[in-house]
């Protein structure tokens, strides 16, 4: 039976890690990392789990040690946030290209500068081309559920890629809310034992991991990564289905809220989706046909599925919590636009940037966004294609 609790997002993910009980967790124990390693260290110190915790001197080292542990054959994960992730940059690529199914519990926070500790998606969006799977959460509940599904996806033999379980800094990581937990043994049975096919410490089958690849071979490894990423789509859906059987909670690439008959829709990632849902309920009560597509899985990118889900709307606002500074919108805007173009869609789109450095987004902001979409649909004219929402005037 489900256990009723109230947890912050950090507590929820730390508990999921306790229930998974991975072999190794290297982590940098102070800022810019999060409370997650601290809670896990407490569990270990109190004998609640037997993970080998390695406190390291930097995030460069935490990811290096996680890579090393995973290559050796261990189930390994680490946790960080913001600039801590930026310091892992080199190793993010090493983990993905060596096809190591390790996990990173990421709390999304802004990058410097100006120095800012609050939520946006610049850290993980910057890492969108590193070859990692990326799954995002609206709430503490989703962060917990995603963490429990992480290793089942990443360790699948058709995937073998590192996975990033992302949640919004402070907004979910530090907010205490209700949550439903699974029993330890249910999680343990669901996650299962990790039995790597090939690993460094397997003396019967010696292998090399991370050697030099000459130009004649390098590109084929990249094709392998691409194939694995494509394979992950089916695995993510299969794991979600199994997870639903133990939890009663349904997950897919994205959640559709009032989207089926919507004329105007918002496409967004993370906690702001919850705020958007309240705006939708208010506008629906006034007879406005508004809806939401909340993207959960950003890597692999479900391009065809998104294009199909929003094909019927008149206007779509693609909302980015980071800016690419390309002068051409944010990362989600670029990828969704490409998906729509390839699907020969004629949906009118705008790409709004919001919530940078923790700038709040309110129900009223979404009401304004929907009225802008209505205007675009009526006039057929798209103005302010790449606007910033909630900017000080």
């Amino acid at each position: 039976m489900a256990i009723r609790e109230r947890f912050s997002g950090n507590e929820a993910v730390a508990l999921a890690i306790k229930q998974i009980n991975p072999d190794v967790m290297p982590a940098f124990p102070i800022t810019p990392s999060t409370e997650i390693p601290q809670y896990v260290a407490n569990y270990i110190a109190n004998g609640k789990m037997d993970t080998e915790f390695i406190p390291v001197e930097s995030e460069h080292s935490s990811m290096s040690a996680t890579v090393g542990a995973s290559a050796a054959g261990a189930r390994a994960l680490t946790a960080t946030s913001s600039c801590g992730m930026a310091l892992m940059w080199e190793e993010l690529y090493v983990a993905a290209s060596n096809r190591l199914p390790l996990a990173l519990a990421l709390v999304n926070r802004a990058l410097s500068g100006p120095i800012n500790i609050n939520c946006d998606h610049s850290d993980s969006m910057g890492a969108r081309d590193t070859g990692w799977l990326q799954i995002y959460a609206e709430s503490n509940q989703e962060a917990y559920d995603n963490m429990i599904q992480a290793f089942r996806i990443s360790e699948h033999k058709d995937v073998m890629l590192p996975i990033m379980i992302c949640q919004d800094g402070f907004i979910t990581s530090h907010a205490v809310m209700n949550i439903e937990l699974l029993e330890d043994n249910v999680v343990k049975d669901f996650v299962g034992e990790y039995e790597p096919e090939h690993y460094l410490l397997d003396s019967a089958q010696p292998i090399a991991i991370g050697p030099y690849a000459v130009s004649n071979y390098y590109m084929e490894t990249k094709m392998g990564q691409r194939t694995a990423m494509k394979n992950a789509k089916q695995v993510i859906l299969d794991v979600a289905k199994e997870f639903e059987a133990i939890s009663g909670r349904h997950y897919g690439f994205f959640e559709e809220y009032q989207l089926e008959d919507a004329e105007y829709a918002v496409l967004i990632i993370g906690s702001a989706a919850g705020t958007c849902k309240d705006a939708i309920d208010q506008l629906r009560a006034q007879g406005k046909k508004v809806g939401l597509l909340k993207l959960r899985v950003f890597r692999p990118f479900p391009a065809e599925e998104i294009a199909a889900a929003v094909a019927h709307v008149k206007a779509l606002a693609i909302m980015d919590r980071s800016d690419s500074f390309s002068g051409n919108g944010g990362p989600l805007g670029a990828e969704v636009s490409q998906a729509l173009y390839n699907a020969h869609s004629d949906v009118k789109t705008v790409n709004y940037i919001y919530g940078l450095g923790g700038r709040d987004i309110r129900v009223e902001d979404f009401e304004d966004i929907y009225s802008r979409l209505e205007r675009i649909a009526e006039t057929g004219e798209v103005t302010d294609q790449f606007d910033y929402i909630g900017l000080r005037k």
Partner: protein, 190 residues
Amino acid sequence: MNQTVEIRWHGRGGQGAKTAALLLADVAFKTGMYVQGFPEYGPERMGAPITAYNRISNEEIRVHSNIYTPQYVAVVDETLLESVDVTAGLREDGAIIINTARPKEEILPHLKGYAGKVYTIDARKISMATLGKYFPNSPMLAAVVAVTKVMDKEAFLREMELSYQHKFAKKPEVIQGNMEALKMTFKEVQ
């Protein structure tokens, strides 16, 4: 959605306004409610003004923004009245609860003409009388529960006692003092 009670806390870094908000979420959760308790972080330093928030509801809470038109405001440190617009957006059908030893008449001029109810509680006096030290959290928490009526007082006391027994398992001597602080606050808040 309309049944959600929204509360904003004003305090200074290190005084426990964030902890008070989390404790309120905790105890409301235990009485069967849906809760949110979250801080808004500015520069992290002792003594800087901080804000924390609570939403308490009978229904699932989805909104993740800060609170702009709270029903209730709790001011843990009265020196903030001069530097922070504590009544900003505060609904006139709601109330403000201020930790102060001063009479209400001296406080009102700082509230920018707020027309709703104003409650004061001398958390220092209560804390010194019951704990011998200044911890404003327990009295403020009880004052907020008394004024907002988000939960039954008896249920609140019952859950707080369990919570203190857990929290102070190694310092049982402070449990009674904290419980007295809660009960004394119920009598004194006005």
